[in-house]
C-alpha cells in the first residue's frame, strides 16, 4: 500500500563538512513498516548530483536500518536541536539537518558560530574566563566534571569572551552553550 507524501528540502551538513542541499520524498510505506524514499543530493550549481532509492525499517527504538545500492546499514539515531547524531558501526556522525527557510529567519545563521559548547553533560566545576577576556585558541575556558573526571573545554579559536553562560556548580546538558566568543 503506497501513500503519497510531499517532497521536502533540507540543508545537510555532516560534522565540519560542506553543506549540501537535499530533497527527499517518501515514495511508499507498507503495512509492515517498510518505507521507501527517493533522495536527491544537489551539487553547488543546483543540479542533481546523487540520487538514492532508499528502503528503510525501524526495527527498534532509536534505530533505522537503511538499504540502498545493495548495502544494509544500521544507523543509531539520537536527535538534538536541529540535527541528528547518527551512529554507524560504532562511529558517530553529527549531522545538521536544517530547513532552509527556518535558517533564513535565524539571525546571521548563528549555527554555533561564536558559541563554545560542551559535548558532554556534567557539572561545571570551574569557570576560567570572564566577559571581556581575550582568549587564544586552545586555552581552557571552563572545566566540566562528568563521571568522576574533569574535562577542560578549550577555545576553538582566538577571540574575546562576549558572554559566559554558566556558573560554577551548574549542571549542563550535552551541547549546552558555555561561553560566547566575539
Amino acid at each position: 500500500m503506497s501513500t503519497s507524501a510531499p517532497t521536502l528540502t533540507y540543508e545537510v551538513t555532516v560534522g565540519d563538512g560542506t553543506t549540501r542541499t537535499a530533497r527527499i520524498v517518501r515514495t511508499a510505506r507498507n503495512d509492515d513498516g517498510v518505507a521507501h524514499y527517493h533522495v536527491e543530493l544537489l551539487a553547488e550549481d543546483g543540479s542533481v548530483d546523487t540520487t538514492v532509492e532508499l528502503d528503510t525499517i525501524r526495527p527498534e527504538p532509536g534505530v533505522l536500518n537503511l538499504m540502498y545500492g545493495g548495502k544494509s546499514i544500521e544507523a543509531g539515531i539520537v536527535p538534538f536541536d536541529e540535527g541528528v547524531d547518527v551512529d554507524i558501526r560504532g562511529l558517530s556522525h553529527e549531522v545538521a539537518v536544517v530547513d532552509p527557510r527556518r535558517k533564513a529567519l535565524r539571525t546571521g545563521g548563528a549555527a554555533g558560530g561564536g558559541s563554545v559548547k560542551t559535548q558532554m553533560p556534567g557539572r561545571v566545576v570551574r569557570v576560567l574566563v570572564s566577559e571581556g577576556d581575550t582568549v587564544e585558541k586552545g586555552s581552557a575556558l571552563v572545566v566540566v566534571e562528568a563521571m568522576k573526571m574533569e574535562n577542560e573545554i578549550k577555545s576553538p579559536r582566538d577571540g574575546v569572551v562576549s558572554r559566559v553562560s554558566v556558573a560554577e556548580g551548574d549542571l549542563v546538558e550535552a551541547r549546552a552553550v558555555l561561553v560566547e566568543l566575539e
Partner: protein, 501 residues
C-alpha cells in the same frame, strides 16, 4: 577466625551498576534473597529492577549515597539482611565499614578487616610482604644523602634503576639510569627537578622494571586456613592507569614463572590471614622477574575471565566462604582451560579524546552466540548517569585458544549496539587488529603515545552519505508528523510522479 557455619538468607548489595547485577545473580542462584540500594540517579538502574527489595539511600553524589556506611547499615538492619556484599569500589576496601558490619551482627562478604588494613597501606603491605618472603621491587624508600650513597645503593639493587622524588609523583624528578656512568648527571638532574617541583630535593632509588606487564593472581581462601589460587590475569593494557583489556592466561608467562608467581600469591594471602576472594598484583619484567605491587582485598572488575577459564563462580564462592563452608575443591582440581578476554566498555568517546559520554541509552543490543558473556546494567531505555564511573559493561569472551578468543571478541564487538552514547566499542576493534596485541608482546606502556592515536584513527571509515540519508529520513518523518512543513513551492520534484515509481 570465624570458623563456624552461618547461613545467609538475605544479602544487601552495597553497590550499583554491573557489579550489583553480578552479585544479585550469584545470590539468586544460591536461593539467597537480595536487597538493592540506590541513589536518586539510579531508580531506573537494572540492579534496582532485578533485586527482590530496593531501598533509596540518598542523593546522586556517591558521598551522599553509596558511600554512606551508616545509612546502608541502617537499611540492612531494617530489611533483615544477614550479610553485606560491597562489590568493588565504594566501601569495598573500607576496613572501618567491614568492622561496623560485623559489630552490627551481620556477615561481611569479604576478607577480615585486619587483612584489609594490612594491605591498604603501600608501605605497610610492602614491609609485611618482604617479611613473608614475597619479592618486592628492590630499592630504598629512604632519601639518599650523597652521590656516593646513591652509587652504592644502585650497585646493590643492580642496573637499570630508577631515581624517584621522595615527595613526588607524576613523572617529575624521575630518571631512568641504565649504567653507572649515567648516574652522576641523572642524580643531580633528578634532585634539582624534585626541588623545583616539590620544594624537596630528596630522591631515592628503585629497581627499574623494563617493559613491565601487570600480571595478577586470583586467590581464594576459606575460614580454615585453606588457600588456593585460580591462576593469573594479564591486565597490562591500560589507559592512564585504568585497565582497559584483560586476558588469561598471560600470553607470555612461562609455566615455571606461573608456578612461582601463584605460589607467592598464596603466601601473600596466608601472611595476612586472608579469607574470601582476593587478587595479588605483580609487575612482571621483560627479564622474567616479578615483584609484588599490591593486594586488592575484594572482588576484582576483571574476575569473569578467571571464571571463564576455571569454571569457578567467584561470587558464589565468596558467598559460600562467607557462610563458613570449607573450600570444596583443592588446588589440583583447578585447571586453566582455553583463553578468555575482557574488554571494558566505557561510556567515553575515543574520537573526542575519551570525553565522558553519559546520557540516555534508547537502544541497546548485546552480542550473543557461543562463549560470549556481557556483564552490564544496560538496557534499552536505561540512562548512564554523570555521577559514577564511566565503565558501563564488560564484554567477556572465551575461546579454545588465544586466537579463537580474539576472533570471537571481534565478532561480538560487531554485534554490540549501544545507542545514544559513545563507547569504546569501535576502539576495541582497532585494538584487536594491532599486530603487537596479536603477538601478545606488549607492556603497560602499550597504549602510550603514538599507538593510541593510531588506533583511534583506525577505528574504521566514517560513512557520511549513509549518515546524511539516515538523518534526512529522520528529519522528514519528524517534520511530516509535526505538520510543520508543507511542500515547497517551485520544487522541481512532483510528488505524484514519485508515488508511481
Amino acid at each position: 577466625m570465624a570458623a563456624k557455619r552461618r547461613p545467609i538468607r538475605k544479602v544487601l548489595i552495597a553497590n550499583r551498576g554491573e557489579i550489583a547485577v553480578r552479585v544479585i545473580r550469584g545470590c539468586h542462584e544460591l536461593g539467597i534473597a537480595t536487597v538493592a540500594v540506590y541513589s536518586d540517579a539510579d531508580r531506573r538502574s537494572l540492579h534496582v529492577r532485578m533485586a527482590m527489595e530496593a531501598h533509596h539511600i540518598g542523593p546522586a553524589p556517591s558521598a551522599q549515597s553509596y558511600l554512606r556506611a551508616d545509612r546502608i547499615l541502617e537499611v540492612a538492619q531494617e530489611t533483615g539482611a544477614d550479610a553485606i556484599h560491597p562489590g568493588y569500589g565504594f566501601l569495598s576496601e573500607n576496613a572501618g565499614f567491614a568492622r561496623a558490619v560485623a559489630e552490627a551482627g551481620l556477615v561481611w562478604i569479604g576478607p577480615p578487616p585486619a587483612a584489609i588494613d594490612a594491605m591498604g597501606s603501600k608501605t605497610e603491605s610492602r614491609a609485611r610482604m618482604a617479611a613473608a618472603g614475597v619479592p618486592v621491587v628492590p630499592g630504598t624508600k629512604q632519601a639518599l644523602e650523597s652521590f656516593e650513597e646513591a652509587r652504592q645503593v644502585a650497585l646493590d639493587v643492580g642496573y637499570p634503576i630508577m631515581l624517584k622524588a621522595a615527595a613526588g609523583g607524576g613523572g617529575k624528578g624521575m630518571r631512568r639510569v641504565f649504567s653507572e656512568d649515567e648516574l652522576a648527571s641523572a642524580f643531580s638532574a633528578a634532585r634539582s627537578e624534585a626541588a623545583s617541583s616539590f620544594g624537596d630535593d630528596a630522591v631515592y632509588i628503585e629497581k627499574l622494571i623494563v617493559e613491565p606487564r601487570h600480571v595478577e593472581v586470583q586467590v581464594l581462601a576459606d575460614n580454615y586456613g585453606n588457600v588456593v589460587h585460580l591462576f593469573e590475569r594479564d591486565c597490562s593494557i591500560q589507559r592512564r592507569n585504568q585497565k582497559v583489556v584483560e586476558e588469561t592466561p598471560c600470553p607470555v608467562l612461562p609455566p615455571e614463572t606461573r608456578e612461582a608467581m601463584t605460589a607467592v600469591a598464596c603466601r601473600a594471602a596466608e601472611a595476612v590471614d586472608y579469607e574470601g576472594a582476593g587478587t595479588v598484583e605483580f609487575l612482571y619484567g621483560a627479564d622474567g622477574s616479578f615483584y609484588f605491587l599490591e593486594m586488592n582485598t575484594r572482588l576484582q572488575v576483571e574476575h569473569p575471565i578467571t571464571e571463564m577459564v576455571t569454571g569457578v563462580d567467584l561470587v558464589k564462592a565468596q558467598l559460600r566462604v562467607a557462610m563458613g563452608e570449607p573450600l570444596w575443591f583443592s588446588q589440583d582440581d583447578l585447571k586453566q582451560v582455553g583463553h578468555a578476554i575482557e574488554l571494558r566498555v566505557y561510556a567515553e568517546d575515543p574520537t573526542r579524546n575519551w570525553a565522558p559520554s553519559p546520557g540516555p541509552v534508547p537502544g541497546y543490543r548485546e552480542p550473543g552466540g557461543p562463549w560470549v558473556r556481557v556483564d552490564s546494567a544496560m538496557y534499552a531505555g536505561a540512562e548512564v548517569p554523570v555521577h559514577y564511573d564511566p565503565m558501563v559493561a564488560k564484554l567477556v569472551v572465551w575461546g579454545a585458544d588465544r586466537n579463537d578468543a580474539i576472533e570471537r571478541s571481534d565478532r561480538a564487538l560487531r554485534e554490540y549496539r549501544v545507542r545514544g552514547i559513545h563507547t569504546t566499542i569501535p576502539f576495541f576493534r582497532a585494538l584487536l587488529r594491532d599486530p603487537d596485541f596479536r603477538s601478545g608482546h606488549y607492556s603497560t606502556a602499550f597504549l602510550d603515545g603514538d599507538r593510541m592515536e593510531r588506533l583511534c584513527a583506525d577505528m574504521g571509515e566514517t560513512d557520511p552519505l549513509s549518515a546524511s540519508l539516515a538523518a534526512l529520513v529522520h528529519a522528514y518523518e519528524r517534520d511530516l508528523a509535526a505538520g510543520t512543513r508543507s511542500p515547497q513551492p517551485g520544487g522541481p520534484t512532483n510528488r505524484w510522479k514519485w508515488s508511481f515509481r
